[in-house]
């Protein structure tokens, strides 16, 4: 379990559902610090093996992984901090990382950086060194730097910085033993300091004189205060009280008025200038001979004339052909028909009948809505193959580096619905599992974007299980498919457009790193797919079984029948047969569950094309499944989650009804 946990944390940093919220353990800890995308978590996994726990940082939803390294002794904890770009935090996650640096009992800090991009990363190293904590530098991705012909004089770099520098490759484990050995020795703090220029230095000296050193050296703290770090200000307020803090802030204000730009700007410039010197001394990079094929492919993917057709092709093959055709068609057929219908279920029904004497219990296990006959069958035979193929396709797209390119292609369009291109990742992931995608909305920057994205996921993005079933249902009629897609897309655009207009907040900003396009490594793709499927299964299987149990209880007590009778008028209003009420009721548990119920109904020959179209549209827009509702509640708060759920419920039935009436008026649409 712990292995998959750590992998998951690596796959979706900060997206875990919390299991525990324990306070950080006392004792000297080793902090892994670094930018996002430098292989920090992979290195963490290398160092700690399986002994990992993931927990919320107290008072936040930001999650951190803790582990122990057998080579360092059982009492030494290694903590993987959230990725951050500099000591001055912007996001919640970075704030947690900065808290950990200044708070806990830190034995040493391992700064993990991308050896290819030392000029961008070393500035943070210098900041870390200035905190006065013992620092080690892990030059990660050393292999990629070598491949580019970049030569780094490691000894020289270590001498200049005054800290140990160890080249590592976290993916293969190269250099990790050396890193452990260096950590064991616990290096002394380095005396290295950066000169920030007179005005800044005067300010720093003035403030530092009024601070006690604490864990983080007074100079570093003064520098943070000067740069306007609100977190550091709170800390000082706690330590020093109002009066002394006011005096310190006076110095900050006085320094600021003497400068044109913010002190942060000058500090960063000074850091950069020093880094450039260091890089000039220690790094030799050749004139790059770019990979022509890769560059050409990159151009094709990002050029508007070829890029958009490629998006269509990728979505067509990855989603429609692979997930819809192979997953929802071939695999589902095989599992449903051969495995369940002809083998497992008859066997289970006979077995249960032979062993269980009590009729109600028999129906709980293997009745019409039984745990095996319904819960397990839906989960394993219908949902699992669809979701599995989706996660596989998504992992391939992710590891090729295609997703950021997709993001830049759709950014302009997404701005119209209040999002930026970055939101393409949760939205595309939503086509796999809306619940997981709602968790991933955390990667969006503003509250407004997270809210809009959550609404769209709840309303208009069908998850793969649902999509697979619906595509199967409507595959007989191209017109029905077109009506369904048109209505759902129109609702999505309209909702996004209205949300963007109505919700207050700042305009989204789009910026993203474009990692090089590369061929995915099969092993990594499989591990990702596997761990996501494990997460998914752990999440949904209990719900499916719970649904079976609830329906069973409902049936024995006749509550189920009552609920169906309440739903029937709504369903009848949509022009659907009464039996469809069962499918909609299932939909309360999970949307895919409801869609699967519809699938059963259709196979029994109970629906016309008109009815199928209306039912598919209503179910697509329908209330999110229970799991998604719970995640919405966790991420956005109960009030917002209830509002979204109510809005989605009304919209789904209203749009279903309108479609029904419109199709009655225009019967030729469906031929």
């Amino acid at each position: 379990m712990s292995l998959s946990t750590s992998i998951r944390e690596r796959l979706f940093p900060g997206t875990n559902v919390a299991r525990s919220a324990q306070a950080p353990a006392a004792g000297p800890a080793i902090l892994l610090v670094g930018n996002p995308n430098v292989g920090k978590s992979a290195l963490f996994n290398r160092l700690t093996g399986q002994y990992v726990t993931v927990s919320n940082y107290p008072g936040t939803t930001v999650e951190i992984s803790r582990g122990r390294c057998s080579a360092l002794g059982a009492d030494v904890e290694i903590i993987d901090t959230p990725g951050m770009y500099s000591l001055l935090p912007i996001t919640d996650e970075e704030r947690v990382a900065s808290d950990m640096l200044s708070g806990a009992d830190v034995r040493c800090v391992v700064h993990v950086l991308d050896a290819k991009n030392l000029d961008r990363m070393l500035g943070f190293t210098l900041q870390l060194i200035e905190t006065g904590l013992p620092v080690l530098v892990a030059l990660n991705m050393a292999d990629e730097a070598r491949d580019l012909g970049i030569k780094i004089d490691v000894a020289r770099l270590a001498a200049i910085l005054g800290v140990p520098v160890i080249p590592t490759v976290s993916i293969s484990g190269e250099g990790v033993a050396d890193l452990v050995a260096a950590i064991k020795k616990t290096p002394p703090p380095s005396p290295f300091r950066v000169e920030y220029g007179n005005l800044i230095e005067e300010g720093i000296a003035g403030i530092a004189g009024r601070l006690s050193a604490g864990t983080v050296a007074a100079r570093a703290r003064a520098s943070l205060l000067l740069q306007g770090d609100s977190r550091e200000r709170e800390r000082v307020l706690q330590e020093k009280g109002d009066l002394e803090t006011a005096r310190i802030l006076q110095i900050v204000a006085a320094t600021r008025t003497r400068l044109n730009h913010s002190p942060h700007y000058y500090v960063t410039l000074a850091l950069r200038a020093r880094v450039d010197q260091i890089v000039a001394e220690c790094v030799r990079a050749p004139q790059r001979a770019p990979n022509r094929f890769r560059a050409a492919l990159d151009r094709l993917c990002t050029h508007p004339l070829t890029g958009y057709p490629i998006v269509v092709l990728v979505l067509y093959f990855a989603l429609y052909k692979f997930v819809g055709g192979f997953g929802a068609g071939t695999l589902v057929n095989f599992l449903e028909e051969s495995v369940f219908k002809h083998t497992l279920i008859p066997w289970a029904v006979r077995g249960v009948a032979a062993v269980v004497p009590w009729a109600p219990l028999r129906s709980l296990l293997a009745g019409e809505y039984g745990i095996i006959t319904l819960g397990l069958r839906y989960a394993v035979a219908i949902v699992l193959p669809i979701v599995g193929t989706f996660f596989l396709a998504f992992a391939v797209l992710e590891d090729t580096g295609y997703l950021p390119r997709l993001a830049l292609l759709v950014d302009r369009g997404f701005k119209k619905i209040g999002l930026n291109g970055r939101a393409v990742i949760p939205i595309v992931l939503g086509f796999g599992c809306d619940t997981m995608a709602t968790l991933v909305t955390r990667t969006l920057e503003t509250r407004r974007e997270r809210l809009i994205c959550t609404i769209l996921l709840a309303l208009a993005i069908p998850c793969s299980a649902q999509l697979g079933v619906i595509l199967g249902l409507l595959s007989g009629s191209g017109a029905a498919l077109a009506v369904w897609a048109g209505v759902v897309l129109a609702i999505m655009l309209l909702t996004g457009f209205l949300s963007a207009k109505l919700l207050p907040g700042e305009q989204p900003m789009f910026y993203m790193e474009l990692p090089p396009l590369r061929l995915p490594v099969l092993g990594n793709v499989l591990i990702k797919t596997y761990s996501r499927m494990v997460w998914y299964f752990r999440e949904i299987l209990p719900l499916f079984i719970l649904a079976s149990v609830l329906i069973w209880i409902g049936q024995i007590t006749s509550i189920f029948q009552l609920l169906i009778r309440c739903t029937e008028p709504l369903v009848r209003g949509l022009g659907l047969p009464d039996q469809a009420a069962v499918a909609f009721l299932f939909g309360f548990f999970r949307r895919d569950y409801g869609a699967a119920g519809l699938y059963d109904l259709h196979k029994a020959g109970g629906l016309t094309v008109h009815q199928l179209t209306v039912a598919a549209i209503t179910l697509t827009l329908f209330l999110p499944c229970i799991a998604q509702f719970l995640v919405m509640q966790k991420e956005r708060g109960t009030r917002v989650a209830l509002w979204i759920a109510a809005g989605v419920f009304v919209t789904a039935f209203a749009v279903g009804w309108l479609t029904h009436r419109a199709l009655l008026l225009l019967p030729w649409v469906l031929g």
Binding site: Y85, R120, G228, R412, G421, M509, F510, Y511, E513, L514
Partner: protein, 206 residues
Amino acid sequence: MTDHRLEEVLETLYLRFEDPSRQDIGSPGGEGLRLAVEHGYVDDVTQQLTETGRPLGELVVRRHRLAECLLRDVLRVFDAEAEEDACRFEHILRTGLEDRVCTLLGHPTTCPHGRPIPRGDCCRRAEHDGVNEVAALCDGRAGQTGVVAYLSTRDNREIQKLMAMGILPGSDIRLMRLFPSYIFEIGHSQFTVDRALAEKIIVHWR
């Protein structure tokens, strides 16, 4: 030409010379005018700039308007004091320094009030070489390389984001694509940004 009063007189007279219809310019007088006449920059009788005085007046006006651009485009000062700041600035810029400012700003042709900025040697050189222009990232051509000159924003969050990508004055930058989003290369990494951010990155293009 070190006396501020003298410079003010030369400026005023140049503004009159440039646009005789302007009503908002007062008449020079006092110690400054006396000095100007004494140096032969101003004709005693007509009270107008002489052949030797005109280039000096032009230089003061050039410095003033460049200072206005500097305040607006780089330092982002928009308030009422900007005018006074520009007045002080024009006296601080020593000879040669205004050309550096002019280059930094990309040889602007008009001041924030829409009046022409007298051209300097640097402008003529840049025009002749067809290089040395400073413009926002979004105004570059695909494939063009340059050095980041400055970040044209006061928004700390924007500055932090740009800096996190390694976009700092002095960084080498290569623009690769402008549509559908801006793609550029800095160091060994590629980034993509939207127009709103690309406008804030001012590049000294090669």
